[in-house]
């Protein structure tokens, strides 16, 4: 289900003293099955963009077209979009409210039209997919769980609807290393299964590892839309805009600066290592 963002602009509080342009004429297209990273400083418009994509907000100008239909056109059934798109906000555990984990995860499926059996199946699948033991946890209160477990339950609640495209807003914020690793791997697995992933993150190394394409916003404008290996070439530009380039790219850049050219499209540690070894051994 391709998503097309067509010359979209968004302004908060138009016509008042608090007026602020969050997005300015942004256009891009996301194909089925892609894994896209969205980067940008706080205030660049990333949150606004992702909310527009799932129809939580309506653009001031421009169109959002999903699977060929304008989602803000009169007559468009939002339900359609909700079934296909999932969004995990930062600190998603704040959305938990039910008396048991099972009920909370099933919440989104209440009006989905699925049968009780199908719902139960989806819930079980979702809970297991996020790495929790269904039998142990399904009847527990979500509020009795640890922080990490709560986050997993919250994510399961969104996965249960088996969305075709999933937006993640800084999903690993506040997680410890194991949590981070598990989560990134989950996103990769889902993508391998055909789910389109859109991940907002400051962590360029994580995106270099999993994403195929990176989009960068600056002050409401799209300043970069490129394959991940290309997106971090221009270190000066990115630094100027306050965008992190990741440790691997940083090392490559510094080595080039001191006389050991490492290709500018080196963004992953695994790609970098052979060069480090090469330099260390005195070769080229």
């Amino acid at each position: 289900m391709p998503i097309e963002i067509n010359h979209v602009s968004y302004t908060y509080f138009p016509g008042t003293v608090f007026e602020a342009a969050a997005l300015r004429d942004v256009s891009l297209r996301i194909e089925d099955g892609e894994y896209i990273g969205i980067m940008g400083q706080t205030g660049c418009g990333k949150s606004t963009l992702i909310q527009l994509m799932v129809g939580l907000m309506v653009p001031s100008e421009g169109k959002i077209i999903v699977d060929g239909k304008d989602i803000n056109e009169r007559g468009y059934q939002r339900e359609e979009l909700r079934k296909k798109a999932g969004i995990v906000f930062q600190y998603p555990e704040v959305q938990l409210f039910e008396t048991t984990v099972e009920k909370d995860v099933a919440f989104g499926l209440k009006h989905s039209g699925l049968s009780k059996t199908e719902i139960a199946e989806n819930v079980r699948w979702a809970i297991e997919t996020v790495g929790l033991d269904f039998e142990k946890i399904c009847a527990e209160s979500p509020f009795s769980l640890s922080g990490g477990e709560k986050r997993r339950v919250a994510i399961a609640g969104i996965l249960a609807a088996k969305p075709k495209f999933l937006i993640l807003d800084e999903p690993i914020a506040g997680l410890d290393p194991k949590g981070r690793k598990d989560f990134l791997k989950l996103s990769g697995d889902l993508n391998a299964d055909g789910v389109t992933i859109i991940m907002v993150s400051h962590n360029a190394d994580a995106l270099a590892e999993y994403a195929q394409r990176v989009i960068i916003l600056d002050d409401g404008r799209l300043i970069m839309d490129a394959p991940v290996k290309e997106a971090f070439r221009d270190v000066e530009l990115l630094r100027d805009k306050g965008i992190g380039i990741g440790q691997a790219r940083e090392i490559a850049h510094l080595l080039t600066a001191c006389g050991y050219p490492v290709p500018e499209d080196t963004v992953r540690y695994k790609e970098l290592l052979p060069f480090l070894i090469g330099i260390g051994k005195g070769g080229d």
Binding site: Q41, T42, S144, S146, G147, G148, A173, G174, D176, P177, K178, K181, H202, D205, G242, G244, Q247, A248, E250, I251, L254, L255, C258, G259, Y260, Y269, L273, L276, I277, I279, G280, K281, G282
Partner: protein, 277 residues
């Protein structure tokens, strides 16, 4: 000079009918002016330990002396808090007023600072964190990094000897983290404060004088960053990932490239490689 001394500290709490040990026997000494970084997985006891230092938690078992005061004596709690301030993780949950100068004077009022000294101390605290002139502004209009700096100003206004940071950078974006870290560096270098920083960004631990590693209520590592952060075994046991330059050091070693020292930062790594030639 020793400013914190803990001896066989234990702490347990009850949860759903059973007892759990959050601190399982910690002993250590911290000198005045040291910058300590504390690492460990969630639930390893780091925050529980930190809350003992500023008497937010009372000592159940063991001995603890902070800035010359016996932390076991409940009467000392308030005095200890004057010597030991704390900055918390969520920038939004630390303010009592929607006007910055009022919020910063909160601490000063609590410790009976005379009215006429307050405006000067507020101004000084704001200058220390690089937020001069923000007296009349509202905290909610600030960025995360700025909010934390205001929180730091609120703590510094009282001029404590020790400052605790409980994952103060976790909820910030990279820019905000940098602002807070620079502020901590200044407080340490220029004001001589004792810093105890719980962090879950291992790169931040590189800046400290000494790193403590917690695991399941126990201190499993205590040493200089160079020593602790290059100990792959220790980090793995504690559920932590080493900094990238450290991984590179070991990967290079496996491939036959031996660097003179284990680099902790990217700059160290690049320098070491360049100097090899």
């Amino acid at each position: 000079m020793i400013i914190i001394e803990a001896s066989d500290l234990f702490h347990s709490y009850e949860y759903e009918g059973s007892q759990s040990r959050s601190i399982d026997g910690i002993s250590l000494r911290i000198d005045q002016g040291e910058w300590i970084a504390i690492l460990g997985q969630n639930g390893s006891g780091k925050t529980t330990f930190a809350k003992h230092i500023n008497a937010l938690l009372s000592v159940q078992e063991g001995e603890l002396t902070v800035a010359g005061l016996d932390a076991k004596d409940p009467a000392n709690a308030w005095k200890i808090r004057q010597k030991c301030g704390m900055v918390f993780q969520d920038p939004n949950n630390q303010f009592v007023s929607s006007v910055i100068e009022e919020d910063i004077s909160f601490g000063l009022e609590n410790f009976d600072t005379p009215d006429n000294e307050i405006p000067e101390k507020v101004a000084k605290a704001l200058a220390l964190v690089g937020m001069d002139g923000f007296e009349k502004k509202s905290p909610h209009m600030l960025s995360g990094g700025q909010k934390q700096r205001i929180a730091i100003a609120g703590v510094m206004a009282v001029d404590p000897d020790i400052i605790l940071f409980d994952e103060a950078t976790t909820m910030l974006d990279p820019e905000g983290r940098q602002e807070v870290l620079s502020t901590i560096q200044r407080l340490h270098a220029e004001e001589g404060k004792t810093i105890i920083m719980i962090t879950h960004f291992i790169e931040e631990a590189v800046l400290a004088d000494r790193v403590l590693v917690f695991k399941q209520g126990l201190l499993v590592g205590d040493g200089a960053p160079g020593e602790i952060l290059s100990d792959l075994d220790l980090l793995d046991r504690a559920g932590l990932a080493p900094p990238l330059p450290v991984s590179a050091y070991y990967d290079l070693k496996k491939a036959g490239v031996i660097l003179p020292r284990c680099p902790l930062t990217i700059e160290d790594l690049v320098e070491a490689l360049c100097q090899l030639r």
